[in-house]
Symmetry: C2
Subunit: 396 residues, 2 copies
């Protein structure tokens, strides 16, 4: 069995003074229901992905608030799922299992985060709770610091110089910002030069060596939502259908600094990607585009290697040969990604799914990737502890 | 399809200086695996129920920490579920759906909370985030205050005097503490007299009129865990099997003070109980014992009515005629309940399931209810916004 997406919503991403956690949630939910042509009574369960309503907004137990979307949702199960920045894809996976169980026909999944209610220092502190706090967040590690460990591990493992890494990561920064120019919902519409992104400057300071400001994703408010139903039902309802043909969730040790897992690769991403593609009898060459978790530019570089787009230690090649650009072999983050589209953490995984579905339907938010029939999403939580890869196919 | 419990663990409940959020989680997980006779490699997914690791312990993204239980869990999906004080039953429901989907054979569910890391005022503030914060927690409502709204609503609806209510609630307090005397894992081993529980005193002060200290459940550390598998598989593995034959999750509006739902009854509990029993062709008379969500004594009184143990406004009768005592028609909270066993919020729903299974196997933690073949759990989140009722049956 499998599930397909029959309704979608995607908010603007970025600082949204006029929106609350609650209004972002209800607007996305209402828009997705409308897009599906359904009302609350047609929905059997609601999954709400939210990283830290407690930390950002003093609101835990957010899920039942979904009843405000439509009173037809009253008495339906509403469930909050949290797995750091991978909360969105975790929620989508739970919704798929619930549909496959036969208990529910149609399920609404909403990812939401309202981060700008806190100032930067507060945001950093709340995000640090997604690390293994006793040995990471509580010892002064921020997430830039944790991903800097990967950057350092990568340089050490492959004999990469800091200058070479900065040059490689600058390509990723520039690609993200270029792609976001065409995305009307993206947080930043500003192109970066390679020199700017490569060099330390007043406007591009070092955040956690070797990662600079231009290597970091954004602090964002935003929401995205999907309505899922069984593929059979979707085919009966819609002329154009995109299916989530496979989804694999692989967890790894919570801590990166404890040294129980590698610092030069995303081991569990590799595992999840191989498994989801293998189960479907596909390879990465069968994928036409991807939205992946570029929380930092180094993460995207490691992702090229984990997905098999380039050999280990050679991720740079995927940039230099043009593979990951729009028009290339496998455009990565045509939306602009977390880096330029923005990263409302609980919403991000749902956002990725919406972006891929829209591309596969030929209705891209942003620049359309031509002849795209199969797409992939990769959503990561923490410093690589939660890893979820989905493969989506246009089946009708 | 349905799922059965093949392994269990239940920690001591109460202030546990020597335990952390992490040690509570791993100990419960290890013990449940051992009880099931399985190791990490046999488990296909882990659900972690935790209300506010962020608020209490600065730890969100707790689920992948479960890999520390057993390295065989590495690369398996680990999922955190949060629905306030009903996080535990919400996680069990997700685990059941996941098994029913056919994707997973055996699933580990761990509920955990470490609350005593904060002082009482801090605990109250973190719990208040389970209300609709803008109009409840943020306006000074604590949870005693929110459930006091039910107490006031009940008195107004049924013409009950404060004196009569205090007298009724005192029976519930005394029953809980009496039952907990035999429960070796309970937080409080101390019997209360009816007069003490009924009257305001230095040792029993008013907390939120008309609720006194003796009407409130406890602040606790604790964990509970279960291993679930399909009933067919459980029968193949075990000589004695308890099945979760039905589970219904019904959400209601997040806020009680906004007035969108009744203050004199638990409307969605009634809905969920009728649905789960009706789906199984059962009535409340087919249930032999129950562990229910007595976060406050008024809640248990309302639960008698929502479950159909007494007519609306007549819950007191279930106490006076002895129905809800051990030896009565349907013993309620033979463990001592949240009131005396304790209430480590994320663990509570899992605890309830463990307690009922142990009773149905004839291995009660505490006083054994005789000839018990079917039991019920009722887990509530917030002020009645999340409501989950399970029916468990000894099937072998």
């Amino acid at each position: 069995m499998s599930a397909s997406i029959i309704g979608m919503a995607h908010s603007r991403v970025g600082r949204q003074e006029e929106q609350t956690l609650y209004s972002l949630l209800t607007e996305a939910g209402k828009e997705a229901l409308k897009d599906a042509g359904l009302s609350g009574k047609d929905i059997d369960a609601v999954y709400v992905a939210n990283y830290s309503g407690g930390g950002f907004n003093k609101q835990e137990h957010l899920a039942p608030y979904a009843i405000e979307i439509d009173e037809g949702l009253r008495f339906k199960p509403c469930i909050r799922v949290e797995n750091a920045c991978a909360s969105g894809s975790t929620a989508i996976a739970q919704a798929i299992y619930a549909i496959e169980s036969g208990r529910f026909k149609s399920v609404l999944v909403i990812g939401v985060e309202k981060m700008t209610s806190l100032k930067t220092a507060g945001v950093t502190e709340v995000l640090a709770m997604a690390s293994y706090y006793p040995e990471e967040g509580g010892k002064g590690y921020s997430f830039p610091g944790l991903y800097a460990e990967y950057a350092k591990g990568y340089m050490a493992e492959y004999g990469y110089s800091e200058e070479e890494l900065a040059d490689t990561l600058a390509y990723i920064t520039c690609k993200a910002h270029k792609n976001a120019m065409a995305n009307p919902l993206a947080q930043m519409h500003m192109e970066f030069t390679h020199d700017f992104a490569k060099q330390i400057s007043d406007k591009n300071p070092m955040i956690a060596p070797p990662l600079k400001l231009s290597d970091c994703s954004l602090v964002s408010d935003g929401a995205a939502a999907v309505v899922l139903t069984s593929t059979d039902n979707a085919i009966a309802m819609k002329d154009k259908v995109v299916e989530i043909s496979g989804i694999v969730h692989a967890s790894d040790y919570l801590s990166i600094v404890q040294g129980k897992r590698a610092r030069y690769e995303l081991t569990a991403v590799k595992y999840a990607a191989q498994k989801v593609l293998g189960d479907l009898g596909m390879t990465i060459n069968d994928i036409d585009l991807a939205e992946v978790h570029d929380c930092f530019t180094i993460t995207e570089l490691l992702i090229y290697e984990a997905l098999g787009l380039a050999p280990s230690g050679k991720g740079r090649e995927a940039l230099l040969n043009g593979d990951v650009y729009i028009g290339g072999r496998l455009p990565v983050n045509p939306s602009g990604g977390l880096k330029a589209k923005g990263h409302p953490v609980g919403a991000t995984g749902v956002s990725m799914h919406v972006l891929i579905v829209k591309q596969l339907l030929g209705e891209a938010i942003g620049e359309q990737v031509k002849e795209a029939a199969a797409g992939l999403t990769l959503n990561i939580g923490g410093s690589g502890a939660t890893n979820i890869v989905s493969v989506l196919k246009r089946i009708r």
